[in-house]
Symmetry: C2
DNA sequence: AGGTTTGTCAATCACATGATTAATTGACTG
DNA sequence: CAGTCAATTAATCATGTGATTGACAAACCT
């Protein structure tokens, strides 16, 4: 009998960490597809291949699971925009995120509609920390005179983010307007390019290394 | 006793048309706030001040009510963009819609996330009918050489729509970035102006009556 | 090995939800 | 005024839902 002595964590029959992770992944998928109200705890357990009770055991119920998972996603989002990247590319990358982790983008969209106010928003801190950078870049651009004074950088940033998420938030509009499948890799890529084009149109190009 | 003979419809104790309408309005509010899955039939009945059963009586249940109401909203949306209006103003108006009928805009946003495909989309027809105009204007603009060839007019239109809806779809981002209340009339108005500014930045201004 | 803790499961509960049924009330007809 | 139909209500149902309970089994400790 091959009764091994010290099984590697990933081979163990009982691996709480792995189970936790599986539940979180399943939750992201389910919540992403149906939103908080539409998601079913049973469905999450099934997706994860575990017993439903474990959701309560590890996260204290549906709400706790939602919080844990959304927080995890907010943190993951922080690494999304490397500081040095030119804005058009940064935006294109964000638009492409709909391809890399559709569930994450969808969750982000749901959370916007569910948002009720600054209070009871557990992810407020992570979010504002993550979003500061983009606005700063726009402010610099404006200070350099490359953006009209009438532009409010924060608003512009928000509008561009909304634009990037359109394949997720407005698929019905896209389908009705172009006939294309808003979620197909081909279209998302095309759309991401168009976001970059828009950014360039506004004049967010990286300037050639300073003439004066 | 003032037993009047022909009471005006709105004074009658029993007025099916009025009841129908009250239910539809209540439904818009409830569905707008919580989305389809989150909305409660009981809450709709209470808002409307009628018995819950009437929802089934008039609309055949929650789903029927949702369909009826969303269709009504799609139709109402058609009158939103008068043909002659310059694009920047048209966009500003759309952004201001978050003030005039928040429920309508929110419903539109929910429907995007719930959207599963061209099939089982009852409002497809109305939507595409309503959206055609904007893209045409952009195409003309492009044909006139006032918009780079690399721009895909349909995508641009979608991105601008998404931007207009940002006070509704990304309130958490707005709050975290500006500290302002994303739903306050003051901010929505400011944001709508910024949308117009963006439109002008892209060059969607109405051209002064042709020089050549 | 024996006992304790921790991870997992099956079975079940209490409750909210959407729907149904049947009764009631008001309006219109002849 | 009786009778009929439409509008509205109250009471109840079947079911899906998230949560709980208690058994039990694998790992850990000595």
């Amino acid at each position: 009998m091959p009764a091994r002595r010290s099984p590697e964590p990933h081979e163990r029959q009982r691996d709480p960490e792995r189970t936790r992770q599986r539940i979180l992944e399943a939750a992201a998928a389910e919540f992403g597809e149906h939103g908080y109200a539409g998601a079913r705890t049973r469905a999450i357990a099934e997706r994860a291949g575990v017993n439903q009770q474990l959701v309560s055991y590890y996260f204290g119920g549906k709400e706790g699971l939602y919080r844990a998972m959304s927080q995890q996603w907010e943190q993951r989002r922080e690494g999304l925009a490397p500081p040095g990247t030119p804005l058009p590319d940064q935006l294109r990358n964000f638009a492409l995120e709909a391809l890399r982790s559709p569930a994450g983008v969808r969750m982000f969209a749901w959370s916007g509609l569910q948002w009720t106010g600054p209070d009871d928003d557990p992810d407020r801190a992570e979010r504002s920390r993550m979003l500061g950078g983009g606005v700063d870049q726009l402010r610099e651009l404006q200070a350099a005179g490359r953006l009209p004074a009438e532009v409010d950088p924060a608003c512009l940033q928000v509008m561009l983010m909304a634009a990037c998420m359109a394949t997720t938030t407005l698929p019905h509009v896209i389908e009705g307007l172009t006939g294309a499948d808003p979620r197909s890799p081909a279209f998302v890529a095309h759309f991401a390019d168009q976001v970059a084009v828009l950014a360039r149109l506004i004049g967010l190009d990286p300037q050639e290394p300073q003439t004066s």
